[in-house]
């Protein structure tokens, strides 16, 4: 059953890529394959260099601790992907019902899905590590190495996949179907935050001083990772034994994992069947909104200085973004990460910047957290602004408005919150840093202007790569759009920093007033960003004009 399901998944993948007969998808497949080959080549080179270096300079590394830690980290990935997979199957996709309608035992179907999930994880593990393993097999003259790791990759995820499947079936007894998407989003946020906080707390490179220079590399201090009673410890020991050619020890640990996996799989399959047949909450009464709340929303039906069509797009998008947890995360996550990255290290960073005294350099350094925020918001809001319409795009497409009007509305809806948040953080940052009011004012103005221009540019790129067929908010953003958007953001940021740096150098070299050269650099920087944004809007509009709502 597992192989049957896996074969169906593989067929779907091939049909959507190689057999799609769509130029865009074929190009995407070829590009993806090229990227994989490139990454594989890079991995081979790095591994080979590492092997050579280890021959020349022998290093004392506790391989069991290192590999156990790697497997512990892999466990976090497994938990997340398995939970998403299981809850998606139970709450969001209808294909499980189709399978369960077949004349097969429920246990057989659920076990089949677990096997398919394990096979998928095995393929992913090999995709990421096969080139390195191949190099190690050649370097160690151990052709069995790749096969032993394949067995390890196959056995290790079993316990996680089974436990998470059973837990998901338990969870959906309490989570209504209509809340599945929100729960998955919140779980993703919690996991991302948890991993980042753990990284800050456990990673020796960050734990003490934040950004230590010259400290010798060391492993995170997690002794439990290699404990002999944890699967990560078994896998770490098996992997270390395989790499050192100690096949008896490796076989012993692999056999332990095989026995435990088999028992967990058997128990999990029976339990899953029982839990599934016990049923779960399928629906909840629709949410009723308080009349007072609804009236409050009705009052806020206009945006000053915007015509009704643009205002209605801005208000509608704001409501969609703030009422849907999956969308709200796009707002909240960047702010939270700003806090995690800069907030926790603020006193140390502040004293470093203040030591520079008043002037443009301190003012610009105050914009560093603003830039991180702008990067996150412009990418997450700008690139998805047009795709946010989803399958409801017909509503706009059937209305008597041009596509340019839609793009304009989307620019407002993405740039207004981005520029507002950027302005707030920039003002707060400059107040704390105190680089002098004149420099602080110019820095804030520069941040606001670039925020508006960059977000507008992202809306244009998002329009070129708009996706309207998504059901999962994570698929709103086209990977090519993200790649181009990040690239252009980096170029604009680097060019602006370079221009401002040149203005300081120019004032020093020519004796011109610093403020004059500074303003000139700001004007050129903003002008350049606005020009690129205008081009983005033109391209985006041109693409949307070709749009057909199928």
């Amino acid at each position: 059953m597992g192989l049957l399901l896996w074969r169906a998944q593989l067929r779907m993948f091939i049909n959507q890529t190689l057999r799609s007969r769509q130029a865009g998808r074929l190009a995407g497949t070829i590009t993806g394959a090229a990227v994989i080959v490139l990454a594989w080549s890079w991995e081979v080179i790095i591994t080979w260099a590492g092997v050579q270096a280890s021959h020349r300079v022998p290093m004392r590394i506790d391989m069991v601790a290192l590999l156990s830690l790697a497997f512990l980290a892999y466990t976090a990935v497994l938990i997340f992907s398995s939970l998403v997979f299981s809850l998606n199957a139970l709450l969001l996709n209808a294909d499980l019902d189709l399978l369960l309608a077949a004349p097969r035992r429920v246990e057989s179907i659920l076990a089949g899905r677990m096997v398919a999930q394990v096979l998928r994880l095995l393929m992913l593990s090999l995709l990421f590590t096969a080139p390195a393993l191949l190099v190690l097999a050649i370097a160690n003259q151990s052709p069995l190495l790749l096969f032993a790791f394949t067995a390890l990759y196959f056995l290790y995820p079993v316990f996680v996949v089974v436990i998470i499947s059973v837990l998901s079936l338990l969870l959906v007894r309490f989570i209504p179907v209509g809340r599945g998407r929100e729960l998955l989003t919140l779980f993703g946020v919690a996991l991302a935050l948890g991993i980042n906080l753990l990284n800050f707390l456990l990673n020796p490179a960050l734990r003490d001083s934040g950004f230590r220079r010259g400290a010798p590399p060391s492993l995170p201090d997690v002794p439990a990772a290699s404990a002999p009673w944890l699967p990560s410890g078994w896998a770490g020991r098996a992997a270390a034994a395989i790499l050192s050619g100690n096949w008896i020890t490796a076989s012993e640990w692999l056999l332990v994992m095989l026995a435990v996996s088999a028992v967990i799989f058997a128990i999990g399959t029976v339990l899953s069947g029982r839990l599934y047949l016990a049923g779960w909450i399928q629906a909840v009464p629709p949410r009723r909104r308080l009349p007072a709340l609804a009236r409050a929303h009705q009052r806020s039906g206009a945006v000053p200085l915007l015509d009704p069509v643009l205002a209605s797009i801005v208000i509608k998008d704001w409501r969609m973004r703030t009422r849907d947890v999956a969308q709200l995360v796009r707002f909240v996550m960047p702010v939270v990460f700003i806090f995690v990255i800069f907030g926790l290290r603020w006193p140390r960073l502040l004293s470093s910047v203040r030591s520079l005294g008043e002037g443009p350099v301190a003012a610009m350094l105050g914009l560093v957290p603003v830039w991180v925020l702008l990067f996150s918001l412009s990418i997450s809001l700008g690139l998805t602004a047009v795709s946010l319409e989803g399958k409801s795009i017909w509503v706009y497409a059937a209305s008597p408005n041009s596509t340019l009007r839609l793009v304009q509305g989307k620019c407002w809806s993405a740039a207004l919150p981005t520029a507002t948040l950027v302005a707030l953080v920039a003002v707060a940052s400059e107040i704390v840093i105190r680089p002098g009011w004149l420099w602080a004012t110019t820095a804030v103005l520069l941040a606001i202007a670039l925020a508006a221009a960059v977000t507008t540019l992202m809306v244009g790129i998002g329009a070129v790569f708009a996706r309207f067929d998504w059901t999962d908010a994570r698929r709103m953003m086209h990977p090519a759009a993200a790649f181009i958007g990040m690239g252009l953001f980096s170029i604009i940021s680097a060019a602006s920093a370079l221009l401002l740096g040149i203005s300081i150098a120019l004032a020093g070299a020519t004796g011109l007033p610093l403020f004059t050269t500074w303003l000139a650099a700001m004007a050129v920087s903003i002008g350049g960003a606005v020009a690129v944004a205008a081009l983005g809007i033109l391209f985006g509009n041109q693409h949307l004009r070709e749009l057909e709502v199928l």
Binding site: G178, P285, P286, R287, R288, R289, P291, L293, A294, H297, Q298, G301, A302, P308, V309, A311, S312, I315, K316, R319, M320, R323, D324, G390, K391, S392, W394, V395, Y396, A397, A398, S399, P400, N401, S402, E548, V549, L550
Partner: protein, 254 residues
């Protein structure tokens, strides 16, 4: 009010609609029938400006939908098959948004929103998010949005799917009232009884080609047998083969 001339839509080698010529006058309730995949939805989407014809032309309310799309769309109301609406908006908010998109003056818009919510018996649920609405309720919201800007031509793609009998009856009354004001309704349906009872004229499309057009009486003359039901006429004109179905089913049993 509505006319097409050699309207054609091709997707690569597949011809969805071919050389479609239609004339629909004001005040008509026009039924557009055809089997699955015949080209009904494609035709409607071309007429409301969601798809570009490969060739041919279409005029709606006096405007060429390709040359002057915004002027034409301002006079069109459209209810798609299984409308996807914004889940996180309430019905009231969605109707307000729709009114703004169609440039309805704000006070008039608010008045019409309340009238339509009441008409479709949604006033108590008007502040609930659309994600909690059933398919039939969403269909009502779509129709309310299509009527909000007082269009001259209403296009409906399978409008009765998902509606309970009372709501289907209500929709029928609304559409007939709409036509009495001299406006046009163009709708596709699979439910031939509804088409038979409601429509002033009908068109049947099969494999993208128009196979018949006229009143029910005209269609009966066309197939040469008076007194036939629309279902019989439809099956005859679209070449459905009941005897073949029986043979296939017998084959499955053996």
């Amino acid at each position: 009010m509505l006319s097409t001339r050699l309207l054609t839509k091709r997707y690569g080698s597949l011809t969805a609609v071919e050389d479609l010529d239609l004339e629909v006058s004001g005040g008509e309730l026009f039924g557009f029938l055809g089997p699955n995949g015949a080209g009904k939805t494609t035709t409607i989407k071309m007429l409301v400006g969601l798809l570009r014809p490969t060739s041919g032309s279409a005029r709606v309310a006096g405007f060429d939908i390709m040359a002057e799309p915004e002027k034409a769309k301002a006079r069109i109301g459209y209810v798609p098959d299984a409308a996807t609406l914004y889940d996180k908006l309430s019905a009231r908010e969605f109707l307000e948004f729709s009114g703004d998109l169609y440039h309805v003056e704000r006070r008039l818009r608010d008045r019409r929103v309340e009238t339509l919510l009441k008409l479709f018996d949604l006033q108590d649920r008007g502040n609930d998010f659309l994600s909690g609405y059933s398919r039939g309720m969403r269909q009502k919201v779509s129709l309310a949005a299509a009527l909000l800007h007082d269009p001259q031509v209403l296009f409906l793609d399978e409008p009765t799917v998902g509606l309970d009998p009372q709501s289907a009856r209500q929709m029928k009354d609304i559409l007939q009232d709409f036509c009495r004001e001299g406006k046009t309704v163009f709708f596709s349906t699979h439910i031939l009884e509804i088409a038979e009872r409601m429509c002033t004229r009908l068109a049947i499309i099969n494999h993208g080609r128009l196979v018949a057009i006229g009143s029910l009486q005209d269609l009966r003359h066309m197939v040469g047998q008076d007194g036939q039901s629309l279902e019989q006429i439809f099956l005859e004109l679209t070449g459905s083969r009941e005897e073949d179905v029986s043979a296939v089913l017998r084959g499955l049993e053996s």
